[in-house]
Symmetry: C2
Subunit: 231 residues, 2 copies
């Protein structure tokens, strides 16, 4: 009897498995977004806009090595509310890309923090060269993933044990979802909304944002921009 109750608890307890929680104002989907110097603006704000349109059913938490302002590439600084070490429980970890990833992949403490958070979160998503950070953190070992087509060779070099997909708007493998460049993150965010809420909600969000959702993960109009394979 106790075993059966325990089993029922595990089955229905919130947050036990991705895709099985009903997110509400009382139990919102917690999206933690990682900021670092020279992050790419739209990698962050495209997805966050879509999640924000779920109103109180989503809570967005900005994270960085230390709390405070973090400058985007060639644009405004955004406030990180919490440190990576003090992120709290996340339902979704979102890792953007941008030129800043070139430096960030060699920041051992930063990569370790990504590995720790990404190891815990039931859903991990990257946009653009954010996949290089997940790869360096070892999170994409043995998995399929994609990234920005113009930076493909460099990202590929950061994850030797990953099956890099050359043509995909985004790739989902288990709890990891990696998108192609910049705007592709917005399309992936809507796919994650469809998964964690439902398809109708995702379509409503796209309409509220007057966004033409490229809803197929396999249609990649920019695959041809990929540099020739280097291996």
């Amino acid at each position: 009897m106790i075993v059966r109750l325990l089993w029922l608890f595990l089955l229905f307890a919130p947050g036990v498995r991705a895709g099985e929680t009903t997110y509400t104002a009382a139990r919102p989907l917690v999206v933690g977004v990682v900021l670092f110097a020279d992050f790419e603006m739209l990698d962050v704000f495209g997805p966050l806009e879509m999640f924000s349109l779920l109103d109180e059913r989503v809570r967005i938490v900005t994270l960085a090595a230390t709390p405070g302002p973090v400058r985007s590439r060639n644009g405004p600084a955004v406030i990180a509310e919490r440190s990576l070490a003090d992120a709290g429980a996340l339902d979704l970890l979102l890792v953007p890309g941008g030129f800043g990833t070139r430096r960030a992949v060699d920041d051992a403490a930063f990569v370790y923090a990504i590995a720790r958070l990404g190891g815990q979160a039931p859903q991990v998503a990257s946009v653009c060269t954010g996949a290089a950070l997940l790869a360096r953190a070892g999170l994409l070992d043995g998995r399929r993933a994609t990234t920005n087509k113009q930076a493909f060779a460099w990202v590929q070099s950061q994850g030797a044990n990953t099956a890099w997909v050359r043509s995909a708007r985004w790739v989902e493998d288990g709890r990891f979802a990696t998108s192609s460049g910049v705007s592709a993150g917005t399309d992936l965010a809507l796919a994650l909304i469809a998964r964690h809420f439902d398809r109708t909600t995702a379509e409503r969000v796209a309409r509220d944002a007057e966004y033409l959702w490229n809803a197929s993960s396999e249609v990649d109009p920019f695959a041809a921009d990929a540099a020739p394979a280097t291996r």
Copy 2:
């Protein structure tokens, strides 16, 4: 001779007329973006992403009633670098929308500051309900303009002397360009890049952002979402 030199100076002097300056690292296009409490994230960061991809040929300046952090609707706070009163010379004033516009239109000092900056800037653009702020500032009097289709009736009520266009991705009238909701601002930004740089540059920027540019101002997939006309 002196008259001819003066004429040549006026013809070739930088910044004399919109669309005639060649923007370079030494003389970048200065984009001033207005922030206010509960601005809509993508209204700001969709356009700024596109401008940021012009690298040192664009300088982005964030503006608010007072410098410091400004909270977006349901998302991160962004740092305003300068006050509206101390904006300096702008080539393009960008006014986003969002739920915050409902309060902001009744903030007389804020609307006055928009009127002053919008009266001076050679190019003024709004996204979504940002058009309500331009309208209240009197900047759209006698002009054609558009806005978010879901908020159409409310925005319309803020500008009795404006010819509101019910179906348009964006509308350009003289130095004013107003876009439909949220994502439409990104399409307008690319059109402004085509105008102030050239079409090839705009297409390159869209490709760098892996963005499928909805390049026609007249194709409005969301016009049907407009509430019935109230007048």
